[in-house]
Amino acid sequence: MNPIDPRIHQALDGEIPREALPPELRRVVERLASAAALLAATPEGRSVADRVLARLRRHARSPVRRLARWLTAPHPVTLRIRPVWSLALAATLVLLTLLPEERSALVLGEHEGIAQFVARFPGAHSVQVVGSFNDWRTGTIPLEDRDGDGVWRAVVVLPAGAHEYMFVVDDERWVPDYSANRFVQDDFGRENSVLIVRPVKG
């Protein structure tokens, strides 16, 4: 226990002048007076908690960094699934996968149109269409007879304009499209059918 000299109290309270104190006591009184002045200079209304929070805010990360951290940090997720919805989702995905790709990816250009080829060849094993649009090459545009009634069909995207064409039946028989109503001599002793494709966006 180190009791404070009563003269220090008296000097601090202004009851005796500081000059009346011995030098060592006067230094103590001056130190205590400057400490009291420093405490009096601290702004009011800012508690220790306020000052700590202010300092934390000053050091906080920017919103972008916080977002990046949130995006990259692992988060626990609880997923509750009803089996019936899972099965429905799986069935939808399977259907989307099985749908013909061409149909979903078909985007017509400005100078393209759709042509429909229909031909009746009962008993044929294969029918294809060849013409100026595929350099008269077989094996590129087959017609289909899905129900086996002898009527073969194909719906094709072609460049807009006039095209000459023929059907090739069973890879060997070249036949014009008699339903075309437009024909032109092929310069080889036969006739080509003529098809006019109108641009879809025209």
Binding site: E102, V130, I141, V155, A162, F183, R198
Partner: protein, 224 residues
Amino acid sequence: MRVALLLACVAAPLAGQSVRSRLEGRVPAAAIPVVDSLVRVAGREGLPTEPLVGKALEGGAKHVVPALIVRAVEARLDQLRNARALLLRGGDAPPATPAEVATVSGALRRGLPPPVVERVVGALPSEPRESALHAIADLVAHRLDADSSASLVIDAIHAGLRGGRLLDVSHAVLEEQQRGRTWAESFARVRDELPDVPPAPKPGEGTVQRARRPSSVSKAPTPP
């Protein structure tokens, strides 16, 4: 100027090379040099070359003998020259565009008389005439009078119809005929309706496949 000359010198052999590569394996070898030279001549004269290449490929696919292929390509070149001459007579400024030359050539091949084609060329100065000529050719193919058909289509042009809508005109006439009207009645009814002719039906729904010109494939044609 030097750059243009350099490009022309480089482009010409490259174009020839691409024609040969398209023909090789698909056209009898004996016909290829002659067809190639005819294509070069057409290119030098500013005529479209694709109809000539197409004709040779068609002959090859149909297994036609080389002499006939060459003869057909020569005939095609003459048709293109005649078509260009007709275009110039009809008022087109030289040089006529290759696309219009091919269009007019196709119309003449479909049996349209040259004076009728010339009338259409004059009625549609500096515009595509393909649909107009096909509309007339469609009517002529049904044994309708070529001059009357041309007059109707030219009236439709004056009424503001263009492109595929001109094909609607010929379609409307043929529909009127199928209803039992004479050709004169059909023409008159459609003329009265101009420009509001009904549109021709579009192709029905179905699986659509995209046709491609398989120029990169060089498989030989299937023997008959």
